[in-house]
Assembly symmetry: C2
Homo-oligomer: 350 residues x 2
């Protein structure tokens, strides 16, 4: 029941392919542009009667506010970017979900992208996100030098690194205590009687890989155990490499009796390889994975908490966006040893 003659002004036709704007809505409702804006944004100062007329026009035209224009005007985009190694990696996908959850709670949308462990791609992605003027960035770095982010950070893009630290810039960082977890893993094997323990890790230069091998060496050293040079292998986590390295370690001149695997992909391959062997070999893996408890024996792991990692990082980010100005923080979350059987296999001689 419109209280004005419905046909007193021509209603513009719904144009396909080009969207109606506030101007169109205003024309159709017979009000000013700003009044439409007020209705759309729930601002006060519009009579109920005017508001309902505007709402009817919005409905009729299928109007939806253009947030690009809004962003341009307001400065804030209410979106954050996430750059990680691989969206599909079972370790990172709960992390991204946690980031998304926090973003949602703060009214933000999430841009997500995978670097595929290629430094140039990380940079390309991060800068593309900055060009979109994301309010903040959560980054699992693949590169070693992040000075390229300095202008962005100076311009106010809140930035938090997760899982691995940033290179050559000082920013908020959320990490797991990788070296500590590795020490625990190796100490666990030593406690079960092992002396010859192999380590198969990810490519050298990746922070987590380096920290874990460091923890391995520390644990061996503090137990007074020598490390044979063939016991440590760093490289790509491809099944082929892991398989051949494992075979080498288990059958070389100084064979290992236990294996510490440096991440979940390595662990999975290791489980496969070890299952083919006649004698059981002790195994502890870094990173938990689904069904680890269902295997026989269950796989003992150092479990990180990817959800907490992501949540902590995102919360830190939004605290920055709320204007908290503290020096960059470095949060380190503990790993947790979950004993399931594979790590408690004694050495053959014992």
């Amino acid at each position: 029941m419109p209280d004005f003659p419905a046909d007193s002004r021509p209603t513009p036709p719904v144009r396909y392919g080009s969207r109606p704007t506030m101007k169109d809505v205003a024309a159709r409702a017979g009000v000013g542009l700003k009044t439409v804006s007020r209705v759309v944004n729930g601002e006060p100062g519009v009579t109920l009667e005017t508001e309902s007329r505007v709402r009817a026009a919005i409905e009729a035209l299928g109007f939806r506010r253009n947030d690009s224009a809004r962003v341009l005007r307001k400065g804030r985009t209410a979106s954050i970017g996430l750059v990680l190694e691989d969206l599909a990696d079972p370790f990172y996908s709960p992390l991204s979900r946690a980031v998304e959850e926090v973003a949602r709670a703060n009214g933000s949308l999430l841009f997500a992208g995978s670097s595929a462990e290629v430094p140039e791609r990380e940079q390309e992605l991060a800068l593309a996100l900055c060009a979109r003027r994301v309010d903040g960035l959560v980054i699992v770095p693949a590169s070693e030098d992040h000075r390229y982010l300095e202008p962005e950070i100076a311009a106010g893009v809140a930035t938090v690194f997760v899982d691995r630290p940033a290179g050559r810039i000082d920013v908020d960082t959320v990490l797991t205590d990788n070296a500590g977890g590795a020490r625990d893993a190796v100490a666990h094997l030593i406690a079960h009687g092992h002396r010859a323990i192999g380590f198969i890790g990810d490519t050298e230069g990746i922070y987590t890989a380096d920290e874990r091998v460091r923890g391995y060496h520390e644990a061996m050293a503090s137990a007074g155990l020598p490390v044979d040079e063939g016991w440590v292998s760093m490289g790509p986590t491809s099944p082929e490499r892991v398989r051949s390295e494992l075979d080498r370690m288990l059958s070389g001149p100084a064979p290992v009796t236990a294996v510490f695997s440096g991440n979940n992909r390595v662990t999975v391959t290791a489980v496969r390889v070890l299952a083919d062997r006649p004698d059981p070999v002790a195994l502890v893996g870094f990173d938990d994975f689904e069904l680890a408890d269902l295997l026989r024996p269950g796989v003992t792991v150092i479990a990180q908490d990817p959800v907490r990692l992501g949540r902590t990082a995102a919360e830190l980010l939004f605290r920055r966006l709320d204007g908290i100005a503290e020096p960059p923080r470095r949060v380190e979350l503990p790993g947790r040893l979950v004993a399931r059987g594979s790590g408690e296999i004694p050495p053959p001689s014992a």
Copy 2:
């Protein structure tokens, strides 16, 4: 070696907190606004000498083009949106990675969001993405009525549904042949001698769940087998429910000798439950999962191809954006039965 006196005009200071614009760059380089735009976009018609002066200014100021403004001007955002049930679900994360990969190949960024199976949240997310003026949407629907998308689609937002069809609108869709896969699964169990086969599926109303239970009934019917009313259970995939339903089916008055589980979460719980039983129970699951081959017995599954699902959907979307105008297409990808042992266990009596 600038060929103009470096101090002939005052260089504006780098303002922190607010970013330099093309205007700033132009002022610093002593050129017009449009010339900066040309350099930034690699348009022809700029002398090498002018270009280098502009580049120097860009470098010095840390300028990065504001893509929000660009989007506003150009209309296309070079970004697409992905709405799915759960970013962290091991089934959907390879799908999202595949979508991301195709987006990247087409020069687009990806907005990702989880609906958590809540219809309102799906709609809220999809419309928020439309307000950001994404060029297209890939949606794994959680709701039953998608007419709310009609104005968006009319306005040119390319839209593709994956894994589940859209409700009450006619759009491009990419699905797995769920009923067919379910028929294969049940037929496989029947071929191994089973007559009493239970089905535990996801909540009724979810398309894939309904299709799979339909396939189950079809396979039983076409083998001339009756279905006891206690053999079919639909509901949430929580471990508690799955456990109690399984226990009920296996020990009731008409106990089943084999189980067909309706998705990977159900399957995982089923494996756990069945591992606790003294006698082996045959099991086939819908959806493959990592390590299914490592369990003893290996778990027989109907494998979908989430990567292909995602890739196909995204490619369809970009084909639409390239202006292909065909009626909406419905692509159905086959499932593949992977026999690993658990499905080949004979019934106890045999």
